[in-house]
Symmetry: C2
Subunit: 224 residues, 2 copies
């Protein structure tokens, strides 16, 4: 599904630059349920963003579903994302003028479906995250954890091939974290959905089948 070779990411800082990721070599197969673990600032979000074609490498290659991320036009990258990927962002990125229902429905608008088909999927996704009672709320009427759960429902509603989950339980209590992780494990088993997490949360780590450790932009360990 994803092959990363000798990939480096550098950010310009003033007259200099900062190397966020250094010489990354990783492969991810369909159906994996794995995590990138590391301290704050180690490069987890940067790596997820590149896999998700939201950013491009400075050097090396990252090939996702046969596409080289460094060589995609913005339109091609958007098409790759909308057809194949779901994102749970560290900052949720909900649309503030839309209701919970409309936020979760949004990725489905980009796929050919009737309004009734969309409705069934939206309700189902909100049931996974136990938020059907907030269906008409707007983001500014939600708690932090509720906003996070909406962002999770939105990522999973179209049952994408690849879900990139950046700290998906940061604002969730233990019970809500378990509910969501169980729903994710089910999708992984039933549909072979690939999940790649970035996390420090022990609650998430216990579910992972493969753990990749990242420290100062370098992979230091990769295994079970």
């Amino acid at each position: 599904l994803v092959t990363i070779k000798n990939m480096t990411k550098r950010y310009p800082i003033g007259n200099s630059e900062f190397t966020a990721l250094s010489n990354i070599n990783l492969e991810f197969e369909k159906g994996e349920f794995c995590g990138i673990i590391g301290p704050s600032g180690s490069g987890k979000t940067t790596l997820l963003n590149i896999i998700g074609s939201l950013d491009t490498p400075s050097a090396g290659s990252t090939v996702v579903l046969g596409k080289d991320i460094g060589n995609l036009s913005e339109k091609e990258a958007a098409k790759l994302r909308s057809r194949h990927m779901g994102f749970i962002f560290q900052t949720y990125n909900l649309l503030p003028v839309c209701t919970v229902y409309e936020n979760v429905e949004f990725p489905l608008l980009l796929i050919n479906m009737t309004p009734n088909e969309r409705k069934k999927k939206v309700i189902s996704a909100l049931e996974w995250v136990h938020l059907t009672d907030k269906i008409n709320s707007r983001p500014n009427q939600l708690s932090g954890g509720q906003a996070q759960r909406v962002s999770i429902a939105r990522a999973m509603v179209k049952q994408p091939e690849l879900v990139l989950a950046d700290e998906p339980t940061a604002n969730l209590d233990a019970e809500n974290s378990r509910n969501i992780l169980d729903a994710m494990v089910n999708l992984n088993k039933e549909l072979q959905t690939t999940f790649i997490f970035a996390t420090h949360d022990e609650k998430v780590i216990t579910y992972l089948k493969r753990k990749i450790f990242l420290v100062d932009g370098k992979v230091t360990s990769d295994g079970k």
Copy 2:
């Protein structure tokens, strides 16, 4: 320091309303290091916001440092906050156009100090959170956990009487969480700074001297 009597908070929802906090009775004394613990949606942020005069109760009274929160003008509330309180928000609320230095310096601009006095305090606060190397970065150049640490430095730089910390470690790894909590414990011991946390994080809970459990807007337990 804080006395809350029979306080209720209701939010309008369409033609109806939702009761986020119901008949809260709590007191907090100077020098406490305590937490409000509860599941997502239980009312933690709502309660911290009212104590912090960022919101007003629908019924009952909340008196903070001798001021009744329900009866303050916006100007009086802003004055109470700027002189006496530090906030760590669940959403960090950094100023996107300012550098890390300028974000942490901002609360000091409201206090009579020379630029050199401000500089010493800003550097000291950034040392507590181990971010002196990011001093000239803007928020969009920071990781999630780095942004959170800047928001913590900003809350503590003026050494306020009361710090309200909403999920302060949500995006932090264990080591960074320990560093910050140790710095907070020091301020609590040395300066009798009162800390009230909202949290689900076991790393934080182990440091608390008093735990208040909140479920569906009601206090269900209060003690050690």
